[in-house]
Symmetry: D2
Subunit: 493 residues, 4 copies
């Protein structure tokens, strides 16, 4: 069986490891690779490699660092079909979804290509008579990225291109469930001409993560995953003196106003709830139908959900939705749907019963709609991370905002309406960092921060955009004056 | 005896408290006030007051919030003599130093007056066809400032003016050693027209701090103090879901090049080492004399140190240096000097023997210079926070930078030289956030961040400048599109 | 009779002049002061004064320059009643309008107080190995402001506070029709502590303007007035090597959608068309009623127009609209209304017949509404600059945008609607720099540029906001490296 | 003979023209191509093509526009050898200089790839209660670039990549002396996937330029050339309502301090004075030797000048300096050297006598040094634009700055010194936009503006950097509020 290699100091090798994980093709439920789970020794090797590569990479002008990324972008685009197939195979999302995964990631490479402009500090002369002041942004040193299974290309690409553009060196530890795409991403960057040691790739589980979080030479940690792990990463990392940005889970609300345009809203909601089989921290997993909205929208929505083609993604372009990531996760989602029904939700569409011909062992759950949700239900509190849409019904916008604002999370929130005023009120008052107006998944563009609020994010500086640049750099402020030198000095003659 | 009052919800009152602290005039060693040390109940009262005032203050346009600060600046300037006397009396620094303390603080008020320009988000239309995106900066809610004894005016003014300008409400807990100036600062802001509850003032010790760090309605904590406490504040605060910026101690290096202009360097070094009796996180407490520099500079420096007039500050304008903050601190500084001598340092000037006529109980230590320091000495490792200058001797710039870069801290570092190249190398390579070129104390101007590195700072976003604005706000990114509405809609006809 | 004095080099004096203008109280039609119209000699005196004051003012740190403006703001606020009366008396706008005039101007003073943050250049180290680069913003030198009659306080305050904050010195030549308020504005800034020569005030007509435009020591000209004069100012000034920003006239469109909220729209439109008697370059002088909008809105609008109380403003708070600036202008407006009627416009409200009891010689025109306008009418082409609202009727949004986009001007444009989509389309496609969504007069806030397009503006950098800062400064970009010095140099040992 | 084609609307064709110019290989003095000089008809065709392509290109999201530029960069790099040969052949600069020409140009393409981040406007909510404000940057429409002979690749690439990135369409009119490289630049951008009409290329002389300057559909003109032409372009263009940036000539000073490092200074000065045969608006054509500097530096400098290998560049890599652009220009340079000698300059190295074996008809002038220059000499006043270095001698820095500041020009100025203070004084006080500290040719990096001052630039917004972005866009500021709609509206229920 294929064994996933690590990449340290410019060398690929199969790490020795006491334990190993299995990589599945979830569309088929079959194992496709084995991934050795490294620990402290592998971590130390990778960190030292990155630490040694740092001074040379830092002194490389930003323009030259960016040039590696320009070549990288071209290589990623050249290999987009291959990468999309890799994502679809190990993760299960459809090929179009996988291409979106890559495209969003490439946009971060493009953004990082602007490093010289992004790294600008500020300057002011004569802050006092004869005294000048400026700030510069310097890199931190060795940075680490720990990434989740749900976006095998995009999330890693949120991290290392910008970190490298800023002059840092990097260690990527991808999800052990989807290591294959990450390997290819790293190979292509090496091909683009990145010097050895500047980017390193290691595989591992909790032991590996904890070794990274505590290694004295690691300066910063970027993480995307679930909220409990994000909290652990943040607390452990900061306790050990590292800068940490840790994005967690969510429970995003979509408000449906009675004046919303029906067909577009149904389309947007379907994509938000069932896209990537619901395994997105920006998925729109909770709808609030306001006033007559349910009457206008729900029948069409249920029809669409029931008619979606669920099936293998890597080899069947007609599949509209793929499997979830593991058998265990499928079982948990199914169980939660059952709990929802038991607690009183009306099951308008039931994905538990989905059958996929020709892929009997695949990890499938079909599109599910639970209506008449109340906030004390289990499904209202827990992040399901599957293709399950909860539907609340409320009388007015104010109550809906109030409900959404009680959420412990705050990644995203959206509203569908034609009213300028409803949109402005929602935007102003909703307690979430990413807001959509007639956009079900208001995901960040590379040049804006992915601004999770509340327990959806731990840290001060988010991924992407100028906050991303700020995260990967530290400012140095210099105040200078020059005295008249003594006798014999040239200038004063 | 005078009892320090608290200010909550627009009302001044003497808090009930089980314990109380004593406020001294350190120039005389006499008690001048008593400060009740509040606990959880007082904290809860203040937080609730700030929480209730938040919605109204947030909705107040930035232009109007700034107007309160414009009036505040004028009031601070009108009362500058009174405030300087207050600082000098309860802290012991000289009146000119106290005026500098206030002036720096006022500059933050001035900076905060620019709130509308500082709060700007970004906008881009057509991020995709027909889709627009923008970011806005919204306030966090209830913020807290916990401030140290050494800058009774400046450090509080680093915090609440900017926090309020950004739309937050605030609770100030000043050092229980210097509460009197803080009270006056708050009175003047109330006089400037701040609505009740927007700024609150409470006094307390550790119990009070811990209640603030854990209160569920507190959203952010700004702290300046020692490194161990800063670390505690950061870890406790972030564990309870708060954003934290915590500035700690330092051990700042000043490099003396052989080509430095003698008289200006001696002046700069004296001010850096002995200004405010060395009780500054930006004090230049460690000099590295490179090559012949010691020969050129040390004789004059020792003369100046020995001839400085140490004495009461609040009533004697001829005093050039005042006392340290407490008798205990004086004893600790004296003890550390002794340890230094015992471990092999040459005591070129000895402040332990200082006698101040007419103030026999004052907490005085005279200017002290310890030469021939080695990095394994106790005085080389510990922050002394008194008027004690350590002097290393080294052969060249490279070794000096290497030594300085081993420090656990990283607030500031300075070099005295006439060489453009030495200055550039130093600026580029030194691992400290605030760099001085022929400036002994490269303190932040309000419009640049006070950018401590390493264990001199915990958090990502520093006080002052644009990082300060980023700290007190959270970004919200909105993506919007508008569909063609259905039949009967007006616009499309 | 009162004679208007000039202010040069810190001295007030009555300039000798061959000609003089008369200042009227237009509410009464009576002369209230005489203004000597200076020429080349006075201009040369003022320019030399400003030129001599420049080096000292430039070297004054931005923080200190801003401090004069902080005091100025306080003085303006203290004298707001007096200034409002002055404006109302010499211009004729109502006291509330006059207060708005001042308040907007004060906001520019507030913005200019943020000079240190606004003047920041950029910096980047290692643009190539060992080479650093930064930019700084330096002042230009002597700048000139030539201001119109319609905002006696606001427009001068758009100019000199920011110019001075940037380190320039300045000569203000206000409209000879409203010199009294300008004199008071300058007196107050001198009182705030501005050094002599930094701001100078001279009065004059065309000869004075031409002398300013051609004087070799003048570096920049800011102008607000009519389009033909703006064009002349721009061409003459740039031909003589000066930087010029010249804001001209406009013909602003307001689109009324059928779904607009009636009462608010009528209110907004009334204010846009008749506020300041229509003498604003941002007035909403042309409405386009789309679909049923005319039916919903026009009856109320006509009622409001007919019932507005026209009368003296400086002494009668019940007046809702004051006179226009001169008898000649009144006659021209009345004549244009007549031409409109003759060319086929329906006169729904006719201001020509207005009679004001107790002020028989005042220069009054009442609120006028001309319906069924076509684009080939005289009133559709010419800027009327009086209380005359043209009304077009069109079938849909697209046609309305197309019509508005044919205008030679482009200061502002507004739409009244409840539709998010109509608003977005309008904002995206309309060819005007200042856009209002349910805001009839989308005037610039100080911190955004007043961004006139097309023939409403000549130059690249607008007044107000960051463009204003860019106008009053020139960037200097420095690239530096430092070689290893030869033998005997200190640093390299 | 090869005939240069034009490119309009995506089609290449040989324009019909009454006149034609000749393209030489100046290394050999031989004609290599003919270029038809188009007039009004060709201009109109190109402008209409660009005008029609504008709406589609504007609506193309910035991310997608940038993607064409990403591909363009890769193509330019792939063809760099071919382009360098083209430049060397038609212009005469050496291959390494030609590669530098391209590399600098490519950096502007890289900068323009950051369009989404560069085009950001600003946003602020609640500028007043319930009122929000934002600014966006929109393209202008049809823009024109008119470029000089001396940088056949770099100057065109300063213009159209950024203009296109901002959403404009473009017409390039390159120098009729070097059209071949421009043609290749345009071919490669078409190959990169630019839609037809978005970039057009036409050839022509003065008639063509005047037709471009006056065409009603042209919105902006970028020009680089001599000062008299730049002034004409600016005045004619602005008179016809276009935005213009016009960079002109220069006479750049290089100050030599006695403490400068000798070998590096000689190297820097040689490169500044003789690089590209002195045909650069940033060439260091005037040295001021201060104090003993002449004694230290001149002997070596003369040696280097005399030993430079002058000869054909396109086919002989050993040539260190190539010819000037035309026989006429060679003759003019030679004549000016003679005038200099006649007026009293000491000719330390005389390039008039240069003989190049094997290229007898080439347009060569050798490195020339004129010492003991005085400011009233002809060579001190006129831009020579050839390999001629003037040397002044002065006593101190102050006098040297004073002399340099009397120049009518202000592109660049440099100082060679080891003194931090001399560098700071020079940077602060020199009246030139591009400053070099130990950098003889402080040319702009793409991400900083090329900030010519005085008569070296006409317009407000320079090429490159953020000023370049501002030039190619106009800001639109929107103020919005939303009323509570009336009965029956959905949102308010």
């Amino acid at each position: 069986m294929k064994v996933c290699r690590s990449f340290v100091g410019g060398e690929w090798f199969a790490a020795e490891a006491a334990e190993a994980g299995l990589v599945f093709n979830p569309s088929l439920g079959e194992v496709i690779a084995e991934v050795p789970l490294g620990g402290g020794e592998l971590v130390d090797q990778a960190v030292r490699s990155a630490h040694e590569a740092f001074p040379g990479w830092w002194e490389t002008p930003a323009v030259d660092r960016a040039n590696v990324l320009f070549r990288y972008k071209a290589l990623l685009e050249k290999h987009v079909d291959e990468l999309a197939l890799s994502i679809s195979t190990e993760h299960g999302k459809t090929i179009p979804e996988a291409r979106g995964d890559i495209r969003r990631g490439i946009q971060m490479v493009e953004y990082a290509c602007g490093a010289p402009a992004l790294l600008m500090g500020e300057s002011l002369e004569n802050v006092a008579r004869g005294i000048d002041c400026d700030s510069i942004r310097q890199p931190l040193g060795v940075c680490v990225g720990i990434t989740p299974f749900n976006f095998p290309a995009m999330v890693p690409l949120w991290m290392f291109p910008l970190a490298l553009a800023c002059g840092n060196t990097f260690i990527l530890k991808p999800s052990e469930k989807v290591p294959l795409t990450a390997i290819r991403l790293v190979e292509l960057l090496a091909e683009a001409g990145l010097p050895p040691g500047v980017l390193n790739l290691i595989h591992g589980g909790r032991a590996c993560v904890d070794a990274l979080l505590t290694h004295p030479l690691v300066r910063a940690i970027s993480f995307v995953g679930s909220t409990p792990v994000a909290r652990h990463i943040f607390e452990t990392g900061t306790h050990h003196g590292k800068r940490v940005q840790a994005a967690g889970g969510a429970k995003n609300f979509i408000l449906l106003m009675p004046d919303a345009t029906v067909n577009e809203t149904v389309r947007g909601l379907t994509e938000a709830a069932f896209g990537c089989a619901g395994e997105r921290c920006m998925s729109g997993s909770t709808a609030i139908a306001i006033g007559d909205a349910a009457k206008h929208l729900l029948p069409d929505l249920v029809n669409v959900a029931k008619s979606m083609r669920v099936g293998p993604t890597f080899n069947d372009p007609s599949s509209q939705m793929g499997p979830v990531i593991t058998a265990q996760h499928r079982d948990r989602v199914n169980e939660l749907i059952g709990v929802g029904a038991a607690e009183g939700a009306r099951v308008l569409a039931d994905g538990r019963s989905v059958k996929v011909a020709g892929a009997p062992k695949g990890f499938y759950v079909g599109p599910t709609i639970l209506d008449e949700i109340h906030s004390d239900m289990t499904v209202a509190r827990e992040e399901i991370f599957g293709p399950v849409l909860n539907v609340y019904r409320m009388d007015d916008l104010d109550s809906a905002i109030e409900l959404a604002n009680k959420s412990a999370y705050g990644n995203g929130a959206a509203i569908f309406t034609n009213s300028g005023r409803a949109a402005r009120e929602f935007k102003h008052r909703i307690r979430a960092g990413m807001v959509g107006i007639n956009v079900g998944v208001p995901a960040a563009m590379a040049f804006f921060p992915f601004s999770g609020w509340n327990e959806s994010f731990f840290g001060d500086l988010h991924l992407q955009g100028r906050e991303g640049v700020a995260f990967y750099t530290q400012q140095k402020v210099t105040t200078s004056r020059w005295f008249a030198p003594g006798e014999g000095d040239v200038w004063a003659r």
